[in-house]
């Protein structure tokens, strides 16, 4: 007999939350990349549909994330069929990062603007951050440093990130 839908959905959600972005050791759910999860009854079990939103359109991690999601969903007891689709044009912004995502990013030295113009150094919590470049190690990050402790700081960015023009861009 098929498992109850609520149990399957619980497993689906916890397994999704365990999928990390290959370019950041943070859950794709915490990063705000999972737009919709649907668990529907089908013949002999449950079908899962997952809609994903890319942070940046050219993010090369998309293909790996898609494969990881497929694998994780297929491993859930009771799941028969899995459909993963990207919604490339859907807007992603820093507001989609969950509080636990912000904490996880801070722990690996990545600062996330608070959306009100504020930004804290992950090392010393000073707000004296200067952006050195609008680009960085991945599409969703840019380079900066902390004027207080001198540490280099990686800063999450999104295209709709309103703080980018209010923070000082170091002189070129």
């Amino acid at each position: 007999m098929a498992r109850r839908g609520e149990l399957v959905e619980q497993d689906v959600r916890s397994c999704l939350a365990a999928v990390e972005d290959p370019e950041l050791p943070v859950s794709i759910v915490d990063l705000g990349m999972v737009k919709r999860v649907a668990v529907e009854a089908s013949d002999g079990g449950w079908d899962v549909g997952v809609d994903l939103v890319p942070t940046f359109l050219g993010c090369p991690a998309q293909i790996f994330i898609e494969a990881a999601v497929l694998k994780a969903m297929r491993a859930v007891d009771g799941v028969v069929d899995v459909r993963v689709q990207w919604l490339p044009a859907a807007q992603w912004s820093l507001e989609h990062i969950s509080p636990s995502g912000r904490t996880a990013l801070k722990e690996i030295g990545v600062a996330v603007p608070d959306g009100k113009g504020g930004l804290e150094c992950p090392n010393c919590e000073s707000t004296r951050i200067v952006i050195d470049s609008n680009f960085g190690a991945t599409l969703c990050r840019r380079l900066g440093h902390c004027e207080e402790c001198g540490d280099p700081v990686e800063i999450m960015k999104s295209g709709v990130d309103a703080t980018r023009l209010t923070l000082p861009l170091s002189a070129r």
């Binding site: 359109l57 050219g58 807007q91 609008n134 960085g136």
Partner: protein, 232 residues
Amino acid sequence: MTVAASVSAELIKLADEELFAGHVLTSVSGWGPELEINLAMSSMGQDELGHARLLYGLAVGTDRDRINDLIYARPPGEFRAAALSSVYSKQWEMLVVKHFLYESADAERLRLLAGSTPELAEAAAKMRSEEDFHLEFWTSWFDRTARIDHARVQKALSALWPSAAGLFDFGEGGLFTPASAREAADDWSSRITSRLTSLGFSLPSVAEEPVDDSQRILDEMRIVYNDAPGRW
């Protein structure tokens, strides 16, 4: 969504240009004058490749084989990309001038796209939010490079201006009305011309032979596809 074949052809033109621009940027990353610039160029190159994928998807659907066929198997003569997008130079002032012209024109075209169907407008908004960073980068580096070596920038402008000619050539396909495309082209051209003139630059006639490196890009991009058919 399916779009009319003529609209699809115009979306493919936009996609081809982003593909060419992205291929060149990711290829020349490493030749920029400093590490941060190389990071920026590879990031922008990836952004452009992502925009190409989105635009191809809007044009023909998201089937990967169909998009691969467009990129790897289409006869070179069917590419309608403006020559500027294909300019393949590692020289800094050539890169700066190419992208100063290309990104500012692209911003105009994304504004046009934003006034199109809701689906295309959503795509335009996502692309534009990323392109804003590119435009800021290349505009500020254009200004700085022009201050450092006016003569070299003038030489690059003289070489590349004729290649910009096709950026607003959309025909009657229906993606944009001919009048709105012409208006955007005129706006862009007069704004760029007056800015360049005020900086002491002169522009050659667009009738000069354009620099066009699209064949080189296709040869490079297709090398594995052509050498190992079916196994790549």
